[in-house]
Symmetry: C2
Subunit: 139 residues, 2 copies
């Protein structure tokens, strides 16, 4: 169920294993969430690539930087002819033109991929944030 | 160790429990990765908020949309006076002006927060991607 407020959207997919029920253009375990949540600054996919399976082709991007955050499982990541092992805690930024692909190892590979337009961020964190006096029920 | 190529940056924090060794302005368990990876389209924090602890104040943003992806544990999320339970698989988009805060429940709360400038994404996924003929070692 998705809840939509004026300033927010909230949904819940439950256990991340449920990602295996999603597919994108025939790729099992891939769920793009931008449309459901109404994202306008990034597109984000949540992924569970089953063990021993691989991304179907190498790809690059036109405008978007990508960030891959690996949550659990194991596998390999290819970028511009180099290959690296990936597992829980591996973090990879790739520029738009980087040639990239990945494969799962002997365990299902869980990761999050974030697309955002290269050089689009002008400020962040304490520069962009505003501390408020509002209180929650637990404050 | 961080590896920097022409088109990519790769680092590895190991077990996500290691997040507890990071802190940001006195907040234990918060790691902003943009500087280490050279992100230019988003700023991303990896978070482990210890059980029974809470974000120190309510905040909003000037330009940036935020997306919260909850990975494990439990807690509550406040937005504009409403409060929702969060756990593995909870996904929340908040517009810049949304007033937000969160607290962990009786388990450590693991989540990822993505900041990107609102309305900065012009295209994504198959519109932005380029399928290549390059092959990896496993293709």
């Amino acid at each position: 169920m998705t809840t939509r407020g004026n300033n927010y959207t909230l949904t819940d997919i439950g256990s991340l294993k449920n990602l295996l029920n999603h597919n994108f253009k025939g790729v099992k375990g891939k769920y793009f969430i931008g449309n459901e949540l109404g994202l306008s600054g990034s597109e984000v996919s949540l992924n569970c690539l089953p063990a021993e399976q691989a991304a179907p082709f190498v790809h690059a991007h036109k405008k978007n930087e990508e960030l891959y955050i690996f949550i659990s499982g194991n596998g390999k990541f290819f970028v511009d002819g180099e290959e690296f092992p990936v597992q829980e805690g591996s973090l990879i930024r790739v520029a738009p033109s980087a040639e990239r692909a990945w494969t799962a190892g002997d365990k299902d590979l869980y990761f999050i991929c974030i697309q955002a337009q290269e050089d689009s961020l002008t400020q962040a964190t304490s520069e962009d944030g505003i501390r408020l006096e509002t209180k929650t029920s637990w404050m």
